[in-house]
Amino acid sequence: MSIKSVDERRLREVALTPDEYKVIVGQLKRAPNEVELGMLGVLWSEHCSYKSSKALLRRLPSSGPGVVQGPGENAGAVEIGEGWSVVFKIESHNHPSAIEPYQGAATGVGGIIRDVIAMGARPIALLDSLRFGPLPESSHHVEGIVAGIGGYGNCIGIPTVGGEVYFEECYANNPLVNAMCVGLVRTDQLVRARAEGTGNSLLLVGADTGRDGIHGASFASLELDGNSSERRPAVQVGNPFLEKCLLEACMDLTHTDAVVAIQDLGAAGLTSAVAECAGRVEGAGALIDVERVPRRERGMSPYDVMLSESQERMLVVVRRGREREVETIFEAWDLSSAVIGEVTDDGQLSVVDGRDHVARVPVKLLTDGAPTRRLVGFAPEPPYGLEIAALPPLADPGATLLRMLASPNLSSRRGIFRRYDHMVGDSTVIAPGGDAAMLRVKGTRLGLAVTTDCNARYCHLDPHLGAQLAVAEAARNIIATGARPLAVTDCLNFANPDRPEVYWELEEAIAGLAYACRALELPVVSGNVSLYNDSNGESAIYPTPVVGMVGVIDDYGKRLSAGIRAEGDFVLLIGSSHNDLGGSEYLKVEHGHVAGRPPGLDLVREKAVNRLMLSAAQSGYLHSAHDCAEGGMLVALTECCLLGSIGVRCPAIRPEPPLRLDAAFFGESPSRYIVTVPSRAMPELQSLARRHNVELSLLGLAGGDHIEFEGQLKLSLAEVRQAWEAMFL
């Protein structure tokens, strides 16, 4: 049982280390056969086992008053009232999208939808958080990935309502595609993927099994290199039409009590689905007969069947004797289904091929056996100091504004989201383009606000603070619509954690997420980790902990959007401004630096501002609200004007020292909103702000078709819009 009994090349193929192999041999008390080695390799991959991040992830808060389902299932679930729960999760599909942008992104969307379906929930919205290298060099990534997301979401009929798109040099070889799906379920009908009941049948439904995607999970756990394009067969091909049928059939399953559990087949295919399902029940095992798995092609070995990542498949655990009932439901949608095995009580995942023994591995060894990797983090030299005093003063705010609006990270995303169907479902009451999107819950007055956020530049400069800022900004996006933030799903995109500086980033970012989530009372109920986003051992991505968030408003009739609604309204800045130019878009666009400390975040202040905002929104004092984020106050104000097609007239800004003029216009201090208020509500709002001890500054009056700060800038909305929309239209 020495390591020499297995070819080292074979170990590399299944992405296991010699040490891990020794653990396997020790646990099995024998050498694993080929199939067992493949199954363990894929489940012990970073992608499936979280062996490098598991210990850190425990730091995240995962429980709270409304949490119905925390991490560990296909998706998280939180109660929103009137018997409904929201089910949601975000997941990465970075590696496949890097080498096959269209299918990589499309199957990323398909996979996350199945996670929500598996909970018995109907998916009602999709969001996509994307990172690309600069244009035009990365246009093949942008084109393919945007088309793939649209191709899948538009066809399956789930609206794509939000997300983000950022451009930064560090993503040139490693674009990020994080897809989030949000669904609704009656709380008492939530399904869990637990293989309960010895003797119950395992039904494989949906697509036939082919050779596609074998070793996809292992591939996602390696750095990309010059040979990565040879991994293209590890990228699956999506069939959104089939998944639409699968979705509807699974919704029909809720009418029967013959179903015990539903599990999505994603990374590591059948092996992972069966092991996870059994692993959630103490002592449970499963017996699979690969001969009974419907195949797409001839000559597939048991190894191929167990490791295939063919898309659009689900595993359904059915009460013994009631298989026909469930099969009939799938037949109505012309979907094939096959009983491929049963639940056992021996704690083993046993695989046979007809009468031949194929594999037998303890379920716990598959799901929890991967040795936790003890990695070491070292803080690198803090990146590039910034001497703010050395920056030249702001010469022409208007010219700067136009350049910033035309820059890749601030320009209008309309050209992208109009390629996504964001209206299907008749529930989108706040469309994409502002802060969070909002979906109504039909049959109630409840509105569900959804967003994703992460400023990775901040995380690069200070991962702990950057991660906190991501949580805070996502929460502000939700609050700007008038909704209360409820819970978080996170997608942690990092480079190779074997490098001490990367592992340090991971540690810091998770600690920052945990800190902010605790402070803002936001449980993290689901998530995903994507490591090894490097190429050829260099060009590491910025640490990118994307925060997906949902919130709820009791009456969506009281929702707020970002666009100015009425001429004559007061335009106000809520919150305080500081010289927060570190890591800002202003610094990058105007001075070419990514440097300095990210904006300071005081979570106590943040909560006070948020309480004021929710109270003002609830009382109906506000006509519109918009979060101040990248580009600072002036960019946020401009967006309010463009989205509402109403201008604004303001007196000149005369910042009180030490606040600089550039920071007043373009600084990115957090905990701030731009709101518009009808004059009659001003006294109430002022007294409310005093009570919450929050600074309120009058910027000017809504009206006209210019953006004007007297003597400082005056631009027509038409020329501003042209600059803003030039990039993607």
Binding site: N154, D426, V429
Partner: protein, 234 residues
Amino acid sequence: MRFGVVVFPGTWSDRDCGWVIDQVLGQELTYLWHKDTDLKGCDCVILPGGFAYGDYLRTGAIARFAPIMEQVGDFADRGGLVWGICNGFQVLCEAGLLPGALIRNASLEFRCEWTNLLVERTDLPFTSKCGDREVIRVPIAHGEGSYFADPATLSRLEQRGQVVFRYCDSRGRVVPAANPNGSMHNIAGIVNARGNVLGMMPHPERCSEAELGGTDGLKLFRSAAEGALKVLVS
């Protein structure tokens, strides 16, 4: 008055149309399964949006062979109201119930956005609640919605006044800039010569409530609800 909404595998506007008919309009609603072979006494049949059978091969090309389509064809021949929306319009063209075809958008991209439509016929059972040459705001969501017909068909359509909706600007001017997909003559919707089969690319079921951004679509549903009762089905 009973609306029937056809459900093919891959259809997704069925539930949105159903919502408007049932919850907003308060009319009777029946879903018609693609394998069904009777229309269950419906007074108006809607072929809704989606990707029927995945739209593999060509949009609507497989759906036209669904068992239910034989009944829909018969019903149309007898004067019954048939209304194709988006993918439903594509299916009606493939089935030969309407002339012409929908081809890929000129931009070669999917487009989901609000459009303005000039209503050119208000004497139809689908549009009676619209004002004469009224401009209505209705969203589109399609990748293959560019209306195409040969010159003879096109001139016949124009001569007989079969163009019901045209993409226009907010002031009702039919200009190239208002055309979102490259449709010939800015055509967004047409009717058959008899006036009982309507096909349109925009989605009226997405603008039948104020909270969704507009209520112009409801005018069409109201018209159809009233119009279907006046139509004599032989």
